[in-house]
Assembly symmetry: C2
Homo-oligomer: 445 residues x 2
C-alpha cells in the first residue's frame, strides 16, 4: 500500500492510492479534435508520480447545463474533482458560473484579481477589454490560486468533505499552477504521497505479446495480486507493475521489475519514463562523445528528439535536414555520383549521409535516416514505408533497411525510434568493449 | 440544421447534429499520463468534419467492472458508443469480455480472424504466442471490422436501436479502420452528413479577448442563435461559428465568417484547419520560391513544421539545426567574429544565420531562430524566454527580438509560430507588391 506522506500530522481517511480523483476537461475544441487533451496527460502523470491514480476523465462541451450535470455526478462519486478550462474572458467560458450554481455558492468580484489583470495588460502594452473582468470572480467560500502566466486565476474550494480545484485552460498557465500550488496543497492534506503508484519498465525491439510471454514466468511467481499492464508505443513497449491490494511494497515492486529487466537483456531500455533519446544522451555523455544527425524522411524529428533532452548542446553537435540531393552533396559531402548510382534512398546513401554528418559536424557518432515516409510513391523494390538508417560510430559505419506499414506520421516516429534504439545498442556494446566482429553480427540481426 | 446525407433511402430519426456520440477511451496509460489521448483528437475531428458532434469522452481504467459500468451508462444515454483500446493480446485487455457481458452477448472464436493473426506473425517472421488467440473472439450477433495493420480486428454491434463500435488502441490500426470502414458505415445509416458541423477562422497575432472584442460587432448583428467559441493555441487563436438551433445554414455561417475575416485583415490566417506552415507553403509555392531554415533554440521544430506539409521537397530546401558556434560558422558561414562580438543570441546572429541558410541551401527565403528557450540560464539583458528571429526574403533581411514566459516547450512552440507568422505576413506583402519601405515599417511593428 502506498503510504501517505502526511505533512500536517492528521491521518487521512484513506490511503492515497484509494483517493478518488476525477478530472473534468471542458472545451468543445477537445471534443472536436482541434486541441489534444494535454491536461489529462499532464495531470494524470503528476498524480501518478505522487502515488495517486486518476480514476476517471470526462470531457464535455462548454454548455452550462452539461457542465453542471457532469460536475454533480463527479462531485458525488469522487474525493477530489479537478476541472480545466472555461475560466477565460470570452462568451464560451461558462465553468465558473455553472459550478457555483451547482455548489450553491455565490461569486464575488475580487479587486486584487482585477488589479492583476489590469497590470498584466499594461505590462504587455495592450488595452484591457471589459470581457476580461469576469475572470476576477471567485467563490465566496474558497481560495484563489494566483496565475503567474495569465489573466484567469485558479480556484480552490473545500466543501462536503471534498476538494474542488478549478484550473485555467492554457497549459503554460495550468502546469506551473498545478506543480507549484496544487501538488503541495494536496500533499499537505494527505491526498498525495511521495512515491510513484507503479514501477515501469521500458523496452524496445520486442512486440507486446512476445514481451508478456517472455515475462510470464516472473509474473507467475508472484500470483494475481501483482497487477501488470502493457502499453505499446510505436517501436517500444512499456510494462507497468503495481499492487492495488497493497500486498507488494514499492521496494518489492522494484525488485520484481529488476528480475524482468535481467530476463530481457539488451531489450530492456530503462526503469521509469526516460526517452530513448535521453538514454542515448546519457550513454554518449558518459563516453564524452558527441552525436550528429542527417535526415530526409524524418524531417527534423530526430534532431528534435535529441534537442528535447536538457543540456543537448553538451552532446549534440547538430543536424542537417535535407530534402534535395544538392543539400546532401553540399552540406554532407555525399558524392553526387553515389546518389545517381544507388539513389538517395539506399543503404549506400544512408552510410554516406551518416559519415558526412559525423565529419562535417565534428561528431563521434552520427545517425542518418532516408526513405519514403509516405508522401512519395516509393520506388521499385522500395515502396512507401521503406526506411534506410545509417549509423556511424567509432567502431564502424553500417546501414540497415526497415519497412513500416501505416500512415506517414507513424512511419516517421517508428524510424526515429528504430534509429535511436540502434544507437543505444551500439553504445552499450562500446561500453562493454565488444569487438567489432561481435558488434557487427549483433547490429545486423 | 445539418441535413443528413442518407444514402440508403430511409429517413434517420434525428438530424445528424443531434445524434449523441459518446467515446469511451480505455487504458490506465491514458489516466497515468503515459500516452496522450490521441483517439479523442482523431475521432472528434472525424465526426466534426461529417457534421456530427462528440458529446462526451470518458477515459476509465482497464478494470472489467469499471468498463462494464461506464459502458452501461453511455449505452443508456447515447445513440452511438465508440470504444477504443483493450482488445489486444495481453492480460490487461478486458474490453471485449466486459462489454459482451454487459450486452448479454456471447463471444465466439472466429477461425478467419485466427488465420489472419497467424498469417501476420508469419509475414513478420515471428512466432505467434497463444495469448494472441483471444483477439479472434467476436460478438455472436455482430460484425467484424478487419484490421489491415494489426492483429485485433474492430467489432460492430447494432442492438437496442443503437450502434456500438469497438476499435483497437494502436493509432495506426484505429485510424485507417475508422476512415475506411466506420465513416462509410455510419454515413450509410444516416448518422453522418457530408458537411462540417461548424466554420472555423484561424487567426494569428491577436489575443483571445481582443479578438472577441474586435469581432463582437459582427456577432451582435446575428444575435444569440449564432454560437461562437474561441480556442487559444500558443500564438494563434481559432474562432468557431456554429448554429446548434439550425437557424443558420452552413453557407450562411461561411458568409458570417467571411465578414469576420475581412474585419481582421492580415491577422486572419485561413478558414478551416490549415497550419501556419501549410499556409506559408502555399504562398511560397505560388511564388515558385523555396525556403530554408536555421535553428538553435527550436532544435528541429521549425524544419519539422515545414516537412509535415505534403510535398515539402517542392518548396523546402532544407534546414540546419545547430547547437555550437562551430556549426553556425561551418555550415552557415556565420563569421566567428560576429558571434564573438554580438553573441550567438542576438539580432546580428539571427540575421547572419538566416542569410547563411538561404545562401548555403540555395533558397529564396530563410527563417532563423536563436535564443534561450529555457535550458540555459539566459544572459544579462536576454533572460530565459528571449528569442531572436531572423527573416531573409527577396525584399531584405531583418531580425526581431521576442520574449516569452513559460516552460521550454511553450517557448519553442511560440517561437516556431511567431517565425511562421512573420514569414506569412512577408509573403502576403510580396504578393501584393508592397514597396520595401511599406514592408519594413510593417515588419518591425
Amino acid at each position: 500500500m502506498v503510504s501517505p506522506h502526511n505533512t500536517n500530522g492528521t491521518t487521512p481517511t484513506k490511503p492515497v492510492a484509494h483517493v478518488r480523483y476525477e478530472l473534468i476537461t471542458l472545451g468543445d475544441e477537445l471534443l472536436l479534435g482541434l486541441t489534444p487533451n494535454g491536461h489529462l496527460t499532464f495531470i494524470g502523470a503528476q498524480l501518478g508520480r505522487h502515488g495517486a491514480l486518476l480514476t476517471r476523465n470526462v470531457t464535455i462541451t462548454d454548455e452550462a447545463d452539461a457542465i453542471a450535470e457532469q460536475f454533480r455526478e463527479s462531485w458525488t462519486r469522487a474525493d477530489v474533482v479537478i476541472t480545466t478550462g472555461g475560466l477565460g474572458p470570452t462568451c464560451d467560458d461558462r465553468t465558473r458560473d455553472a459550478i457555483a450554481a451547482a455548489l450553491g455558492q455565490k461569486l464575488v468580484r475580487d479587486p486584487a484579481i482585477v488589479q492583476h489583470i489590469e497590470d498584466r495588460f499594461a505590462a504587455f502594452g495592450r488595452k484591457m477589454t471589459d470581457n476580461n473582468l469576469k475572470q476576477a470572480d471567485r467563490f465566496e467560500r474558497g481560495e484563489v490560486l494566483p496565475n503567474a502566466n495569465g489573466t484567469a486565476p485558479g480556484l480552490w474550494v473545500e466543501q462536503d468533505g471534498k476538494v474542488l480545484i478549478m484550473l485555467p485552460g492554457p497549459p503554460n498557465e495550468l502546469q506551473p499552477m498545478f506543480t507549484n500550488q496544487v501538488v503541495p496543497q494536496l500533499a499537505k492534506r494527505g491526498l498525495l504521497s511521495a512515491g510513484e503508484a507503479y514501477v515501469q519498465l521500458r523496452t524496445a525491439g520486442v512486440g507486446e505479446s512476445l514481451l508478456e510471454t517472455r515475462l510470464q514466468p516472473v509474473f507467475d511467481r508472484y500470483g494475481e495480486t501483482l497487477s501488470v499492464a502493457f502499453c505499446a508505443h510505436t517501436g517500444a513497449v512499456d510494462c507497468r507493475l503495481s499492487s492495488p491490494s497493497g500486498k507488494f511494497s514499492h521496494v518489492e515492486l522494484e525488485a520484481i521489475a529488476a528480475e524482468c529487466a535481467a530476463l530481457l537483456g539488451e531489450d530492456f531500455v530503462c526503469f521509469g519514463h526516460d526517452t530513448l533519446a535521453r538514454i542515448c544522451a546519457n550513454l554518449i555523455r558518459a563516453q564524452e562523445k558527441r552525436i550528429a544527425v542527417a535526415e530526409t524522411a524524418t524531417g527534423g524529428k530526430l534532431a528534435q528528439a535529441f534537442t528535447e533532452v536538457c543540456g543537448a548542446c553538451k552532446f549534440f553537435a547538430g543536424g542537417v535536414v535535407c530534402c534535395t540531393n544538392d543539400t546532401k552533396t553540399q552540406l554532407l559531402d555525399v558524392p553526387e555520383s553515389l546518389l545517381i548510382q544507388h539513389s538517395a534512398v539506399s543503404e549506400e546513401a544512408a552510410v554516406a549521409m551518416a559519415t558526412g554528418a559525423a565529419e562535417t559536424l565534428g561528431a563521434d557518432f552520427a545517425l542518418a535516416v532516408t526513405g519514403f515516409a509516405g508522401e512519395a510513391t516509393g520506388h521499385g523494390s522500395n515502396p512507401i514505408g521503406t526506411i534506410f538508417i545509417g549509423l556511424f560510430s567509432p567502431g564502424g559505419v553500417w546501414a540497415k533497411k526497415l519497412s513500416y506499414p501505416g500512415p506517414r506520421s507513424t512511419v516517421k516516429v517508428r524510424a526515429v525510434n528504430a534509429a535511436l534504439d540502434w544507437l543505444r545498442r551500439e553504445l552499450l556494446r562500446l561500453q562493454r568493449g565488444d569487438t567489432i566482429t561481435d558488434r557487427r553480427s549483433n547490429v545486423m540481426r
